[in-house]
Subunit: 331 residues, 2 copies
DNA sequence: CTGAAAGCGCTTACAG
DNA sequence: CTGAAAGCGCTTACAG
């Protein structure tokens, strides 16, 4: 239609500077008029890049990841990359599928939100040829860039805030033992106790699985502890909210008789009564910075080790679920 | 490695029944050993299908869609399809991008969660060659399959429940005037008033934008209405929760002095105090059924008009925010 | 049942 | 500055 070869059309679309103005104009007009769009599969096959990144999500139904995804999507799409979502949903089969997607050359890079490298019998995702970035949950010992929050420091800070309010018997409600976040947050909690000169009483360490139900269950145990803790730090908001609602219903005043601190800063933490004191993870920024590193790596840039470990601050959000230790419990 | 042609390898992978058992075994072994994976771009280019579906989401950070996405993902991945996420985020530019993705042959089908067909200057997404399905928000007058909840019937039911508790002054808090959900739910609300013999007093119709903040703002107006309504139906949970929290804080007893009903059944509706009576949308099922229709259409099946309009029931969840009309307000 | 060969729609060295 | 041509890695009618 423009009286030129396909090569010239291709150049008009990808490197307009190579063409004479008149030619470019004719091609552009024809492209516009006929609504021509280059076939992506052909371009991918020839160019050897898909302009797609895979994001591995542990559970797409978990609203925590919505904002992280948003940050990733923003950044990738700004650079012309699309987003392929891989939902793990706790399935081994899905994990293997992720590896296959990479091996089949379906993506140019991977963002891992699940804290581990997907495996399958014949090896793992890291042995593919594409760059990887971990976001939110770090992968211990991995050689690729990681973007997370200062979990350990924040957990230590939680103890300091509670201790400053006079609390000395502080319980801990954690996640599954092998989870990275659980490890970091529990370690930080113990740091905090030590820093404040408080003993680490193992009877006050409870284990959950990051769900609302785990918080409900932990509330039952906590109510029966003697002497009863005057504060509790939960390793995420959902458990904190489950616990808070259950102890309130049982007649315990929050924060009058028990202070509660969560972690993450999910939207609901501000809807409960009383509103939950917590640490806000900058979720969108986490996603964005992770995606930015991935874009650089996908463009062939080598990420220098110094830039490969981004650790953002979790912001302390003091709200209504924390208060001074009850009078009668002061020794 | 197996001593066969590439054609035979291709057959081993896509139609194993065509091969002699011995050949198949040799090929399979070689494939396994060398970790061979067919290049997706080449397959796509040759086969003319991408095995990918595009999901257009109005706002990926809105947790409402998480579960819907989960249902879509489940169903698509069961049939070997991947999921390309397109986040609109209220941007015109993004809408045009969606059209381009389809025109460039990047996907075999589209799920629309945003209640309208993405457009760009040179036409719209529906004029592409791929099948479309709308989920959650119907597209008025569209010729493709749609899966939604019985919004109008549920809203009518809300009025019936409130009227049965003795309420006669019921306010309505809606969304943006042109939104499909708003139209259906307001129409249902009016149906309900009529069915219960209650007048539709226009002063009791408030407008919001489906956000928590809109609920907060509406609470202020509601508190100043004379005579004050004894119940309010909000067109979604977030507005209902914003309103509920604000009137409670202002000293109004819920449900003692005001009953509140929401819509959607988001997780937080069960965390607020008092817990919110609402209608639960079967979000995962909506996603799943929409995806199932799309899979059929992508396989070339014609969806008969009868199956093209799926309308699921929204389940009434009576909780603690609704109660009998206050004594003194009975005429 | 298997192989040789064409061709999907691009991009990009290589010429001119 | 532009065109002719090769080739990306598959799949699939067409032979045999």
């Amino acid at each position: 239609m423009a009286g030129v070869s396909t090569a010239t059309v291709s150049r008009a679309l990808s490197g307009p500077a190579q063409l004479r103005a008149g030619t470019l104009a004719r091609v552009t007009a024809a492209v516009q008029q006929m609504g021509y769009h280059p076939n992506v599969a052909a371009r991918t096959l020839r160019a050897g890049r898909t302009m797609l990144a895979l994001v591995v999500v542990p559970d797409i139904a978990n609203p925590f990841f919505s904002d992280v995804l948003r940050g990733i999507e923003d950044e990738l799409s700004r650079h012309g990359y699309g987003l392929l979502i891989g939902n793990l949903g706790n399935s081994r089969r899905k994990e293997a599928q992720m590896v296959d997607v990479v091996r089949a050359g379906q993506v140019d890079g991977v963002v891992l939100l699940n804290g581990r490298v997907p495996r399958r019998d014949g090896g793992d995702l890291a042995h593919g040829a594409v760059p990887i970035v971990a976001v939110c949950e770090a992968v211990p010992g991995a050689g690729f860039p990681q973007v997370e929050v200062r979990n350990r420091e924040a957990a230590q800070e939680a103890v300091a805030h509670l201790a400053a309010l006079g609390h000395r018997r502080i319980a801990y409600l954690g996640g599954p033992a092998r989870n990275v976040l659980e490890r970091d947050r529990q370690a930080g909690f113990r740091d905090g106790l030590a820093a404040c000169g408080l003993p680490a009483d193992e009877a006050r360490f409870l284990r959950g699985d990051f769900t609302f139900a785990a918080g409900v269950a932990a509330a039952g145990l906590l109510l029966r502890m003697r002497p009863r803790p005057t504060a509790v730090f939960a390793a995420n908001d959902e458990m904190a909210i489950g616990l808070l609602k259950t102890v309130s219903r049982a007649g315990l005043a929050v924060p009058g008789e028990l202070s509660v601190v969560g972690f993450d800063g999910i939207a609901f933490a501000d809807y409960v009564e009383p509103t939950l004191s917590t640490f806000r993870q900058p979720r969108r920024a986490l996603g964005q910075q992770g995606a930015a590193l991935l874009v650089r790596a996908m463009s062939g840039e080598r990420i220098e080790p110094g830039a490969a470990r981004v650790r953002l601050r979790a912001e302390w959000l003091p709200r209504d679920s924390t208060g001074p230790v009850p009078e009668e419990s002061i020794p």
